[in-house]
Amino acid sequence: MWAYLIRRLWQMVPTLIGVVVLVFLLFKFFGADPAVILGGLNATQEQVAAIRTQLGLDRPWWVQLAIYLKEIVTFEWGRSWATNEAVSNLFATRLPATLTVMIPFLILDTLVALPIAMWVAYRRGSFSDRTIMVVTTVALSISFLVYIIIGQYVFGFQLGWFPVQGWSDSTLTNLITFVPLPVLLAVMVGVSPQTRLYRTFFLDELGHDYVRTARAKGMTEGTVLFKHVLRNTMIPIITNIGYALPGIFVGSFLIEVFFSIPGLGREVLLAVNRSDYPVIQATTVYLAMLTMLINLATDLLYKVVDPRVVLK
């Protein structure tokens, strides 16, 4: 177990270096000159040159890469170019808002999709199965944007059930007032692909011999489904949730943009629009790190769910 953990962590190092190098090269050789962006439109030659010296841009690229690596290791990313806010502070203040929206979303999404998927898989080929498959196909083909535009218009503007957008300092107020509409809309969008995916997982398991054996033993359908099939299906489902987890840290950036939620996703988008390189670079590298750690955690979770799994 420990050997496995250490080896997996060790294997992350080259990948992480790769991400760092990719981000560095991307911004270094394809991005615009940071000094020109920082200087603004009215900067003189001398000012641009001064900024260049200050940032170390006049030095060879390997020195710059070294500076960059130092920044990552020491978690010292400097400040956002646009707002002069420390990047670490940015993470600390934006992440809670993202999580306030995304955690309820992830839980609800799974809780809604799972029973539907189980039910339609159990009644495979029936009218309800086919209806749900058609509905999810159509629902999937409509852009997320349309759901948000219409959802805000109908629920926020016409019916007035929820505020169209907004955010407050209190987590409780946020959860009660501002979170329901975005989460509702996101679940409406997210349930379709999830249901389809989980349905295939259930169908896979239902086709196995052990299901027939269990039925032959005279077990009730409920026991077969919930004790045998569900437990086995949890393995791919957990993998799937594990893959979805890193995504919640960027949040659904679209939701944050539409509902003016001061989360990390919206901050990244703002940074892209302002060519705010430090923020984009920091987010990319740290989220890559987080993704890998979460994937490792998912693999460890297998062991809990499925005792047959041997970690090697």
Binding site: I142, I149, L254
Partner: protein, 348 residues
């Protein structure tokens, strides 16, 4: 052998090719055939739009602003409550007006200029946008741009994925290790963040969107092509080709590639749908197509503020076009997958 068993070419037990078999299977798939027809209709529409036969004047402001669709009828004139124009005769000011002597000269010069006074229509087939442009033409033009971006980006992603996957799978060892590392790096960063990082660097424009989506979306193809090449490289026909002196490149692309091309095609068609959705989102956020172009994404961006004023037709047009195309295309891709690679059925 031929002397012993005189079989003529016509009688020879002729094994069916993979494409022919797939087509036979596909033809029996009713949903697949219907969606193929819809996609084909869209492609014809796109071809007509690209050759400027239809929707050439999508930028022309042919109707009144926010003109309603024809089936709704023209909007009732608003009561503006303006002051009535005075009825009395005009007072002659020419003796005190310092500009009076030149009025005639200006009138003559104005007469030389020709201005085309466009009669703006009260209603348009499917309504007009904020500037009075025909929403139907915009939707057709937007279809062209969105589908073009989706297809081109998936071709790019598939090409990258296939080349890298073929190299990794065929050569193995060092090259495989290196490419696996590249793959791990690209998949370590969440998709949308990678796209944003590329967008921040490359700027805006249709070509850029294609480039961004292509450069970030190849990992799925790579994975599958690599697996297929690993499976095939030890097969007898490849060994036989090697024995008669076929070069590595020839074995990879003339022998193995045709045998795995159906898998690649299926992957590519699945990518198209995803890329179209991404293009719409990027364009909505202002990272996609520029303002002088139209796509489903820019239409949706405009539609948001129009909806609050009650002008729902642009939203409806963009949504309808996109929903029909994407549904048909994904059903077609599913049918292709089932026909070409029955083993994959139920995947995704």
């Amino acid at each position: 052998m031929s002397a012993v068993l005189p079989i003529t070419a016509a009688q020879a037990p002729h094994s069916e090719g993979v494409w022919r078999t797939a087509w036979r299977r596909f033809r029996n798939d009713r949903v697949g055939m219907v969606s193929l027809a819809i996609v084909a209709a869209f492609l014809v529409l796109i071809a007509l739009s690209a050759t400027r036969v239809v929707a050439r004047h999508w930028q022309a402001e042919v109707g009144v602003p926010n003109a309603p669709p024809t089936f709704l009828g023209p909007r009732p004139p608003e009561d503006l409550g303006t002051i009535e124009a005075p009825k009395g005769p005009n007072v002659d000011l020419s003796d005190v007006d310092p500009l009076a002597p030149r009025y005639k000269e200006w009138a003559e010069r104005a007469a030389q200029m020709k201005t085309a006074e466009v009669q703006r229509q009260e209603t348009l087939p499917f309504g007009g946008d904020r500037l009075g442009r025909d929403v139907l033409s915009k939707a057709i033009k937007g279809t062209e741009v969105s589908v073009f971006v989706g297809v081109l980006a998936s071709v790019l992603a598939t090409t990258i994925g296939t080349l890298l996957g073929a190299a990794a799978g065929f050569f193995g060892r060092r090259i495989n290790d290196f490419l696996e590392w590249v793959y791990n790096v690209f998949t370590a960063v969440p998709d949308i963040l990678l796209i944003f990082a590329f967008a921040a660097v490359f700027g805006r424009g249709i070509g850029t969107v294609v480039l961004i989506l292509g450069l970030t979306g190849w990992s799925g193809v790579y994975r599958q092509v690599r697996a297929e090449f690993i499976k095939h490289r030890g097969r007898e026909y490849v060994r036989a080709a090697e024995a008669i002196g076929a070069s590595a490149g020839s074995r990879m692309f003339r022998h193995i590639l045709p045998n795995v091309s159906h898998v690649i095609l299926v992957r590519m068609s699945l990518l198209v749908v995803g890329f179209i959705k991404f293009e719409v989102i990027l364009s909505y956020l202002g990272l996609g197509v520029p303002v002088d172009q139209v796509s489903w994404g820019t239409m949706l961006a405009e539609a948001q503020s129009e909806l609050i004023l009650g002008y729902w037709w642009q939203l409806a047009a963009a949504t309808l076009f996109m929903a029909v195309f994407v549904t048909a295309f994904s059903l077609m891709a599913d049918a292709w997958r089932d026909a070409l690679d029955p083993k994959l059925r139920g995947a995704e």
